[in-house]
């Protein structure tokens, strides 16, 4: 067991573009805007930054993309480049930045992401899965639907539980002026929606969005010395990966969110019951349900009871995805959840959970292949 880094580093600033359709914007331009805003939010000059961690746009891989961003912001970082583990990348990069800072390899890191699948190409989301095109096995959403069906059959999870996730996200997103989809959804509307890839209907699925978001990470000590106005301490992080494709995964109904969550809770010295608010990766409704189970908020197979009756909505036991998540705010893979966690800990969220002291954030990538958990405090 190495040094416990709980509370040693903070998220010092956050910045993002508008979300939704941003026609004509390159991902480099969007990254620059998000980084610029994050630096202004932290109240620091760009020359203080000596590490740049970038998640490559999901819809288009570009070699040396991290260096392109560094060039666009006129930076000569000590550490810089792209990390790709899908949607878990942002939490992982923040955590790696913290470890690098503690190891003395850098002092101030920017972590950033941009993509434009809405006005650019979203082909990456609908291609044939593996070698199985002859069977009609297409699209990312169908792999998640495959997991959802198993969860329903093996554990008796009703569609209403998935509906509760969508309803909460849409209720919260409706009150977020920056959200891409601000139309509330009632549970009976959800239940009446025609199937798209059964058991999923459209409202089970992530938005497709253009946009960028960035954060500034530094040590708690450095933030104090620099007079950062609203630093948010990182109390815990943890990761886990299954690697197996959905078709090959021996256990389809649990994920390595369990390992990631346990590691993060242990590092923070906290338990699920200590969390006041949660930002849970909801690319598809089933993902959020299984993450809640794997984190220990509900026993396996009992998540339907946990999410019903507004329990994950504002005013409930664990308000979740308070800015709308991937289902309502933006389909961006994860950074928006970190931003909302930061706002909740600062106490300035649009839908603020009163007195919230701890927030857990989940990021996940592929089809529940990779997982990362982040716990923020005050």
């Amino acid at each position: 067991m190495g040094t416990n880094l709980s509370g040693k580093a903070v998220i010092a600033g956050i910045g993002a573009t508008r979300f939704g359709a941003l026609p004509g914007r390159t991902t480099i331009s969007m990254n620059v805007e998000a980084i610029h805003k994050a630096l202004n939010d932290a109240g620091i000059e760009k020359d203080a930054v000596d590490a740049l961690y970038v998640k490559c746009p999901t819809s288009k891989f570009e070699m040396m993309y991290g260096q392109k961003i560094a060039e666009a912001i006129g930076l000569q970082p000590r550490i810089g480049g792209v990390w790709d583990s899908g949607g878990s990348s942002n939490v992982i990069m923040i955590s790696q930045a913290i470890m690098a800072i503690e190891a003395g390899q850098c002092e101030i890191a920017v972590v950033t992401f941009a993509d434009n699948p809405k006005t650019g190409s979203a082909a990456g989301y609908s291609y044939p899965r593996g070698e199985d095109a002859l069977y009609g096995w297409f699209a990312v959403l169908s792999s998640y639907a495959m997991i959802a069906r198993r969860h329903m059959g093996e554990l008796g999870t009703p569609r209403e539980a998935m509906g509760a996730v969508a309803v909460a996200a849409r209720r919260h997103g409706a009150q977020n002026p920056n959200a891409q989809l601000r139309k509330p959804l009632a549970l009976d509307e959800y239940m009446d929606m025609p199937p798209m890839v059964a058991p999923f209907c459209r409202d089970d699925c992530t938005l497709v969005s253009d946009g960028a978001a960035a954060v500034v990470v530094m040590s708690t000590e450095r933030a104090r010395k620099m007079g950062v106005a609203k630093p948010v301490p990182v109390l815990g992080f943890g990761f886990g990966q299954t690697s197996w494709d959905v078709t090959q995964r021996p256990d389809m109904t649990s994920t390595q969110a369990k390992v990631a969550g346990e590691t993060a809770f242990k590092m923070a010295g906290l338990k699920p019951k200590d969390m006041d608010v949660a930002q849970i990766y909801d690319c598809f409704t089933i993902t959020a349900l299984m993450t809640l189970e794997d984190y220990g908020f509900a026993k396996k197979g009992q998540v339907a009871d946990f999410v019903k009756g507004g329990n994950i909505e504002i005013g409930g036991e664990l308000p979740m995805n308070t800015s709308g998540g991937l289902l309502s705010e933006t389909g961006m893979p994860g950074m928006q959840l970190i931003h909302e966690g930061v706002r909740q800990m600062r106490g300035d969220a649009a839908l603020q959970v009163k007195g919230a002291k701890h927030c857990i954030i989940s990021n996940q990538g592929g089809v529940m292949h990779t997982h990362a958990a982040l716990i923020l405090g005050q």
């Binding site: 609908s126 593996g130 069906r149 198993r150 798209m196 890839v197 059964a198």
Partner: protein
């Protein structure tokens, strides 16, 4: 001349061909003969699909193709009500399933059934050879 008619009618979309390589060719060749096979590791006894060069359990490359019994069970399934490729537009709704062979390997398939919403998790299935676009494929039907 019926050129006008031909221009107006949409050409039938072709399915994307599977990416058959040196390792997977015997699998596809066997399927064309109506036989379902899987890889068996001579070192550790592990059985797997889809085709790969090394055993994912012991990493050895000493494996052989074995014939499957054709017995399987249903792990999960989805029903497409939207086509993500033009070739599937006139097949909607259609199902795609994950099945586990009695010997262990898991694979993607279609279940031959009128109403896929009547399927049940873990129900027993049996192999049904089929053909798509000149390739042999493995479908399954409820026992």
């Amino acid at each position: 001349m019926n050129t006008t008619v031909q221009t107006a009618s949409k050409p039938k979309a072709t399915l994307p061909d599977p990416d058959i390589n040196e390792v997977s060719k015997p699998y596809w060749d066997a399927l064309k003969q109506g036989k379902l096979t899987f890889q068996h590791c001579r070192k550790c006894g592990n059985n797997w699909l889809p085709a790969r060069g090394e055993c994912p359990k012991c990493l050895e490359a000493g494996w052989a193709w074995h014939d499957a019994s054709g017995k399987a069970k249903l792990i999960s399934w989805v029903v497409f009500h939207r086509a993500f490729h033009p070739a599937f537009e006139d097949r909607l709704p259609y199902n795609v399933a994950v099945v586990e062979l009695a010997e262990g390997p898991r694979m993607i398939t279609n279940i031959v059934i009128e109403d896929a919403e009547k399927l049940v998790i873990d129900q027993p299935l049996t192999f049904m050879p089929a053909e798509e676009q000149g390739h042999g494929i493995a479908r399954f039907r409820p026992v």
